[in-house]
Amino acid sequence: MEQKKQIYQPRTLETQLPFSWKRLFFQWEWMLLLILVAVMLFGSYVSPYFFNYPSLRDGTMVFLDKALIVFPMAMIMIMRDIDISVGSTVALSSVVMASLYTTAGLPMEVAIVACLVTGAVCGLINGLLIVKFKELSAVIVTLGTMILYRGIAYIILEDQAAGGFPEWFGFFGWGYVFGIPFLLIVFAAFAIVFGILLHQTTFGRKVFAIGNNPTASRFSGVRVDRIKVIVFMLAGLLAAITAIFLTSRMGSTRPNIATMYELDIIAMAALGGVSTAGGKGRVLGVVIAVFIIGYLQYGLGLINMPSQLFLIIVGALLILSVAIPKLGSMIKRK
């Protein structure tokens, strides 16, 4: 009698796999790079103004502010959660900042600090609710706070616009440092910080561990609750930083800014290879995905393509990016 031997392979975390050439070449980031090259070719094909350094550089200002939130969102999605309240958090922190400056007459520096605090508190509330009431999924909690935060923004400013910021505030939106947009530098800095945080620190490993198996990581001593709260707070904080850049670039703010941001951000993260099923994702992929979507939008804008077409393209990209790996494994199984 022969007994079938089952070999259990221990599941290793993505961050700990040994080096292999095969994996180096067969990974999602190469695919994304190819798409990015295609977008660049497409852009320079449709418009002669696309492929030159100043226009590529200034084009980033249009899409990079919302892209800042994609880093903590990737962490949240790796932990199997989701945060759909980030757009509302942007609006609320922007409105708080603007009304403190214009109505309350506080100095702009104080208003900026208040903006950051507002964002962090919004994230903290999300995190605490999710951790204290584990029966509720993150979708429900952030759905509620999404309506609530936007509602508070409306209560504060009604349907008014608030603006008239000091001149130096415009630097955030329009400023250059050594010929490079300030926003691009900030984005690069955050990409490096989050890349190190997620892939090189124990904190990042714990985030992956939670996404792979929340229960097991809790029993192996990972402080799941604390990490979740910290990551949701980071999302709120980066939403507030986004609010500063966005408000600066627009010169004024309204309660209805940044609507549907959460969807764009989730789309960027998913295209970048972050799985909403948890435990998978890399900052590098997310960064490439941001530039793919951003430059695609920029290129289509140059040739006056209706922005509605862009909606369709992002939707199709999102489906393809998630479906291709699934289809591949489906074919392999057959």
């Binding site: 989701i82 609710l129 009431f133 029966e135 509720l136 999924s137 979708v139 429900i140 909690v141 759905l143 509620g144 706070t145 999404m146 309506i147 609530l148 935060y149 936007r150 509602g151 508070i152 409306y154 209560i155 009604e158 349907d159 609507t259 969807l263 989730i266 789309a267 998913a270 909403t276 099923a277 209706p306 509605q308 077409l309 862009f310 909606l311 369709i312 992002v314 939707g315 199709a316 999102l318 489906i319 998630v322 479906a323 699934k326 289809l327 489906m330």
Partner: protein
């Protein structure tokens, strides 16, 4: 003496359990309190006219919540319904504008079919390709919204382009009660029968409460998921026609963000997003509560800018209270078993 205390505690626990089992009663109680409060501030609230008005305005929300309930029961979510409403509404409005003599009922059918096809695409992506519902519907929301703008070229279809018969779809009344209310009532009855007394209806619950055991017991999960999203799409398509007929205008951003209101109604009604549970009565009450808030806040002279905040606060409060009550119930169950 000891017996008496134990007895008293038992009844207390039983009351709690009873309350949880009929959590709809709690919601109903809250709605009644709210109504009394509003009525005391503004006596024109509980008049026949206003109640009919309220019901008419809530009907579309009720119909959509029924569909969203079955999607949520299967552990799914559908974020695309606002876009499907816009797409089917726009196409139907263009159809009416091109042929004013078309039978209004044919328009309803046309819109429903468009919606059902949209839903079927979503269902195929989720059931066959295995995409997560939130990602698939998010992507298709973008695509449907984009298609709506493309087919309309950014133009509106306004009331003067619509035939009288078409506008009467949502504006007319039968026996003094608006058509929309009739449609909502019919759908509630159909769904009640479908969910509780048909095999497919029970299978929807089975798939949501435990997918593995449902698969083992021979339920074809893929089919159920496909069915659920097709129904949701069909209902959104129908509501798209009704929406356009009611507001007598079709535009690209029709019903934008409405999916959140519908999901909120379901969650208020006690549908768990983790799947497997949800009652029609609860969803109905959840939708009615939102409808009352929309109707009553202007009557109370509450600034419209407070509306969002109040709505969000009530949703959060309701789900949190629900969790707390459920925890206490579970604990008393455990204690009883231990004792």
């Amino acid at each position: 003496m000891e017996n008496k205390v134990a007895h008293a505690e038992n009844t207390k626990k039983n009351m709690l359990t009873l309350f949880y089992q009929f959590r709809e009663l709690g919601l109903l109680f809250f709605i009644i309190l709210l109504c009394i409060g509003v009525q005391m501030r503004n006596p024109s609230f509980l008049t026949g006219e206003n109640i009919l008005d309220l019901a008419t305005n809530t009907s579309i929300l009720v119909i959509l919540s029924l569909g969203m309930m079955i999607v949520l029961i299967t552990r799914g979510i559908d974020l695309s319904i606002g876009a499907v409403i816009a797409l089917s509404g726009m196409l139907t409005a263009q159809l009416v504008a091109a042929n004013p003599s078309i039978n209004p009922l044919l328009c309803l059918l046309f819109g429903t079919i468009i919606g059902a096809v949209c839903g079927m695409v979503i269902g195929l992506l989720i059931a066959r390709v295995g995409l997560l519902p939130i990602i698939a519907t998010l992507a298709l929301m973008n695509i449907f919204r984009g298609l709506t703008f493309l087919v309309s070229d950014g133009e509106w279809v306004s009331s003067y382009q619509m035939s009288e018969g078409f506008v009467a779809l949502a504006g007319g009344s039968f026996l003094g009660i608006n058509h929309l209310i009739w449609v909502a009532v019919v759908f509630c009855l159909v769904f009640f029968y479908f969910l509780n007394y048909t095999r497919t209806g029970r299978q929807i619950y089975a798939v949501g409460s435990n997918p593995q055991s449902a698969a083992v017991s021979g339920i074809r999960q893929g089919r159920i998921l496909l069915l659920v999203y097709t129904i949701m799409g069909g209902l959104s398509g129908l509501c798209g026609v009704l929406w356009v007929s009611k507001f007598a205008s079709a535009q690209g951003d029709t019903a934008s963000g409405y999916e959140l209101t519908v999901i909120a109604a379901c969650i208020l009604g006690g549908v768990s997003i983790a799947g497997g549970s949800g009652k029609l009565a609860g969803v109905l009450l959840g939708a009615i509560l939102l409808g009352i808030l929309n109707n009553a806040l202007p009557l109370l002279n509450v600034s419209p800018f407070w509306q969002n905040g109040i709505q969000g606060f009530i949703i959060l409060l309701a789900v949190i209270v629900n969790v707390i009550v459920k925890r206490r119930v579970d604990r008393t169950h455990l204690l009883r078993r231990a004792g």
